[in-house]
């Protein structure tokens, strides 16, 4: 299996940079992001640079094989500030550098600046090409803007790029979803990587307060199965629950997450993982900047996983990918029939099984597998 090599990429190390600034808040978003802190951008970028430098000294930060600017909306950060943070990160040759963009920010100038700074990959949120569905998601951009921006990204010459779609928004019909998929795949240069997310109701979001707009699980299951079929037919291979890629276009950085790999999160609310210890930074940019300026550790919390937790987590993550889990890690019961299939000595989720991945995960028996290699 081609992707199982990517999972478990030895020597890989990722750096995630959180950019907590947005022009507006989407109804479904539960990320640590803010619409009223733009005045902090410069000091925030400075603080990120400081945090990187300190991590190099204090933690012996390895060379990054991938860097990911996520948010929030990284494309709202002036390109020179983003470049300054990226410059501070020591990168291995061939390092993948992804920046998440909003369509309304994308211009040729911005993309050129990114290319010049060493960005190799763009990930852009289109979500839907139906104006009604976009409106229901609380997204500001127009479908035309998104497709035009996608065309610019496709022509700019990045090594790879991705579009995000969301299905199951209020008012979305099966036809709307088919059209969104069709519009994206029908671009002159279609994206080599696609993420398609089932709209999820996160507690505390405006969406959570409106049950009438909550997605129907069965409808989402139908659209997921349809998505997988359409993308497989168009030459994309399933990469992870919500991700599909053309050969060679898997996101190396995300692969690291799913392989329980090591990464360092920079900026407010960013999470890190090194060898079974997970920790995360202060949630608001103000407090993060203040801590860094005061020379104080910005860590807000941490946990150290015991051997069993690590083994369970490792299996739970791998189960979300085509790598699957060792056959011994799942009991051979009739209830899992049709949800899991054997691929060599691995048990891999079927399309139906992917939709029920949580349930299958609760059946995992980590003890049957032994220590992680």
């Amino acid at each position: 299996m081609s992707t199982s090599e990517a999972v478990g990429d030895r020597g890989a190390f990722g750096v995630y940079v959180h950019v907590p600034f947005c022009a507006s808040r989407c109804d479904y978003c539960a990320f640590a992001t803010y619409v009223d802190r733009d005045h902090l951008m410069a000091s925030y970028a400075d603080a990120c640079v400081s945090e990187v430098r300190r991590a190099v000294v204090e933690e012996g930060l390895p060379e990054a094989t991938s860097v990911f600017f996520g948010g929030g909306t990284p494309s709202r950060l002036p390109a020179h500030l983003l470049a300054a943070v990226l410059d501070a990160i020591v990168r291995a040759p061939g390092c993948e550098v992804t920046v998440e963009c909003n369509p309304e920010d994308v211009t040729d100038e911005l993309l050129d600046a990114y290319l010049g700074a060493g960005v190799t990959r763009i990930s852009m949120g289109v979500q839907s090409t139906s104006p009604r569905v976009l409106d229901g998601l609380g997204r500001r951009h127009q479908p035309g803007t998104a497709l035009a921006a996608a065309a610019l990204v496709g022509a700019a010459g990045f090594a790879s790029w991705n579009l995000d779609l969301i299905f199951g928004g209020a008012g979305e019909t099966d036809a709307d979803w088919e059209r969104s998929l069709g519009d994206v795949l029908g671009l002159d240069r279609p994206p080599p990587h696609l993420s398609a997310y089932a709209l999820t109701v996160e507690p505390g979001t405006p969406l959570a307060r409106h049950p009438a707009r909550h997605p129907d699980e069965d409808v989402q299951a139908d659209r997921y199965e349809r998505t997988d079929a359409v993308l497989e037919a168009a030459g994309y291979a399933w990469e992870e629950i919500s991700n599909w890629a053309r050969p060679g276009h898997q996101c190396r950085h995300n692969q690291l997450y799913w392989a329980q790999g090591d990464y360092r999160g920079i900026g407010s609310a960013a999470h890190s993982h090194r060898a079974g210890r997970r920790w995360w930074n202060l949630r608001t940019p103000d407090r993060f900047v203040h801590a860094i300026q005061a020379g104080v550790d910005p860590t807000a919390g941490a946990e150290v996983l015991d051997v069993r937790q690590r083994a369970f987590e490792r299996l739970a993550l791998a189960l979300r990918t085509p790598a699957g889990v060792p056959v011994a890690a799942l009991p051979d019961t009739s209830e899992l029939a049709g949800l899991v299939e054997r691929s060599g000595d691995r048990a891999v989720l079927t399309v139906r099984g992917r939709l029920l991945a949580n349930m299958v995960t609760t059946r995992l028996v980590p003890d049957a597998v032994g220590e992680p290699a």
């Binding site: 999820t200 699980e217 989402q220 997450y257 999160g265 369970f312 029920l356 991945a357």
Partner: protein, 595 residues
């Protein structure tokens, strides 16, 4: 020994909240029985639940002195469930103070207790309380008392137990109007136990009223109903603090401690006599308390089963009127089938178990004791619906009936009749007590009353209607057992016995409710309500198709792992019924919603 003509024994009959405990407090203060510095509210109510709910569960008695006379105030339990206890307390008195809230008028249960007092030939001293309140309407209430009970409105006293106004006059009226006890000191001893409480240091402490003869602290006693013999450890009077005495003569009220291990050994209504010189006949009126309402009590955490058993044993030391026996349920695990005098009694026991013993419990829907007559001519008593034999074996089923008295403002006449009819009540009598108030008497199945009848009555009459009831034998009815099946396996905790005409409604309601509460499984799960093999209602919990979390990136991993760990842990606590994994909370919610 006290001379009987200087003794007055009386109780206070009153509705919840009409001020009985407050009046008792005032009497204790006025007669100097309690040091004012030690006074606290509801002095005589000893249980937390009594203070919180403002009701008396255990009867108390207290001896006070007023104008050279000895007054025994015998407090009666304040709820319809404890009607028999009330009757025993009244049997220890010659008079009763009828205490009525002047803003509310007489209530059904007060009226019932008052009729009981009249049956015992007690002198009634009618009193209107809370005359200091702006809403008080003493004229109307007095007229009503005259109309309903035939007491002269002019003799009705007016007091404020809160301020103490009129309380000395009330005590004077008790002296003047309540007759002194009669009783022959030379006859063999006969004393009535009218309440017993368990004390962890002393064992059972009984309230006792000497009727004939003399109770001497050196006597060996015979309990005429239980047949047991006991040596006296201590007799005494409550002032209200216990004060030991050497003897109690006719008409005297006090307490008795005789090395008895649980209150079942000294039931209310027991006649105590001398073992050496026994009386030929016990006092009249003894009755074994019979549980009327039943439910299963299960620990939510199965590990607490031994604690629940211990707690029930301990409670039973102090309350001989509830029963329990082990029960096992596929849905709820191991627990106990318990019998109670009534709904409030059930609530109180459950609340005490949860509060005093720190247990988390789930109760099945209350049931009553049916008599099932089988085609082979035999008869089975069924207090657990899941145990009712199959329809093919049943000839007919009898259910316990009540004679219910309801007092309501006249404007709610239609509402009350509608409720009673929908609960299969048969109107026996309807009478206007005054142009504004109506009394209804219905014969109604107990089973219809135990399920939210009282709440419905209260909410439909804005709280104005009041209810009293007494058992009225058994009646045959077209009753069926409705079973709930999950994936074709019956869930015992939801089996219920209803009238055939209500089976469909119950079946539909429960299948819909369970459909909402049972999590979707990997396969379609039918939920059915059935009588025997006949399905009344069916719902389907559609197979679950999606539970996966869409996103799993760096910041999501910890949260996601915790969620999955929790789900994995939760799976262990699922009850498996017909291959369906159901969290116990689903059953618990279904039972709660069924209230």
């Amino acid at each position: 020994m006290l001379s009987v003509d200087r003794i007055r024994n009386f109780s206070i009959i009153s509705h919840v909240d009409h001020g009985k405990s407050t009046l008792s407090d005032r009497i204790l203060e006025l007669t100097g029985a309690v040091d004012p510095r030690l006074m606290r509210e509801q002095y005589l109510d000893s249980m937390d639940i009594e203070r919180e709910r403002g009701i008396t569960i255990k009867a108390q008695n207290v001896r006070v002195t007023w104008r050279d006379h000895t007054l025994h105030l015998i407090d009666t339990p304040g709820h319809v469930d404890f009607g028999y206890e009330v009757s025993r307390s009244l049997a220890a008195c010659e008079g009763a103070v009828l205490l009525v809230d002047a803003s509310q008028g007489i209530q059904a249960q007060t009226l019932a207790n008052c009729y009981q007092a009249l049956e015992h030939d007690l002198e009634i001293v009618a009193v209107l309380n809370k005359i200091d309140l702006p809403a008080a309407d003493p004229e109307r209430c007095a007229a009503e008392i005259e109309q309903v009970l035939g007491l002269d409105a002019a003799d009705v006293l007016r007091i404020s137990a809160k301020t103490g106004e009129g309380v000395p006059e009330l005590l004077d009226a008790v002296l003047a109007r309540v007759p002194p006890p009669t009783g022959d000191p030379d006859l063999p001893l006969r004393a009535l136990i009218f309440d017993s409480a368990y004390d962890q240091y002393r064992g059972v402490v009984s309230s006792i009223r000497v009727v004939d003869g003399t109770l001497d602290a050196r006597d060996r006693l015979r309990f005429m109903h239980s047949g047991a013999r006991h040596d006296i450890e201590e007799i005494g009077v409550r002032t209200p603090e216990p004060v030991p005495v050497v003897s109690l003569g006719p008409g005297e009220v006090g307490y008795l401690i005789a090395g008895i291990k649980d209150v079942g050994g000294a039931r209310s209504g027991e006649t105590v006599t001398s073992d050496v010189r026994p009386a030929p006949e016990p006092l009249a009126g003894y009755r074994d308390p019979k549980p009327m309402v039943f439910c299963g009590l299960f620990p939510i955490d199965g590990d607490e089963l031994p604690d629940l058993r211990d707690a029930l044993e301990k409670l039973r030391l102090n309350d001989a009127s509830f029963t329990y026996e082990p029960e096992s349920s596929r849905a709820l695990g191991f627990g106990f089938r318990c019998g109670f005098l009534g709904l409030l009694h059930m609530e109180i026991v459950r609340e005490r178990l949860e509060r005093e013993f720190d247990l988390a419990l789930i109760a099945t829907a209350p049931s009553v004791a049916y008599r099932a007559f089988l085609t082979d001519g035999s008869e089975v008593r069924v207090d657990n619906p899941s145990e009712l034999p199959e329809p093919s074996q049943l000839d007919h089923v009898d259910e316990p009936m009540l004679r219910a008295t309801i007092l309501t403002p006249a404007e709610y006449t239609g509402t009350v009749m509608e409720l009673c009819q929908s609960r299969r009540g048969e109107l026996v009598r309807m009478e206007y007590l005054s142009p504004e108030r109506v009394e209804f008497v219905y014969v109604i199945p107990l089973a219809e009353v135990v399920v939210s009848f009282f709440d419905q009555l209260k909410s439909r009459t804005k709280g104005y209607a009041s209810l009293d009831y007494e058992p009225e034998g058994y009646a045959t009815a077209d009753l069926v057992k409705v079973d709930l099946l999950i994936n074709r396996a019956p869930v015992d905790a939801f089996s219920t016995i209803v009238h055939r005409t209500q089976a469909d409604v119950y079946g539909r309601r429960m299948t819909e409710k369970l459909r909402e509460l049972i999590p979707r499984q990997l396969f379609d799960v039918p939920i059915q309500a059935a009588i025997g093999g006949r399905v009344l209602a069916r719902e389907t919990v559609k197979a679950r198709r999606k539970d996966v979390l869409a996103k799993c990136y760096g910041g999501d991993i910890t949260r996601k792992r915790k969620l999955l760990e929790k789900q994995k842990e939760g799976k262990k606590k699922m009850k498996s019924i017909g291959r369906v994994e159901v969290p116990q909370e689903a059953f618990v919610s279904a039972l709660r919603l069924d209230d």
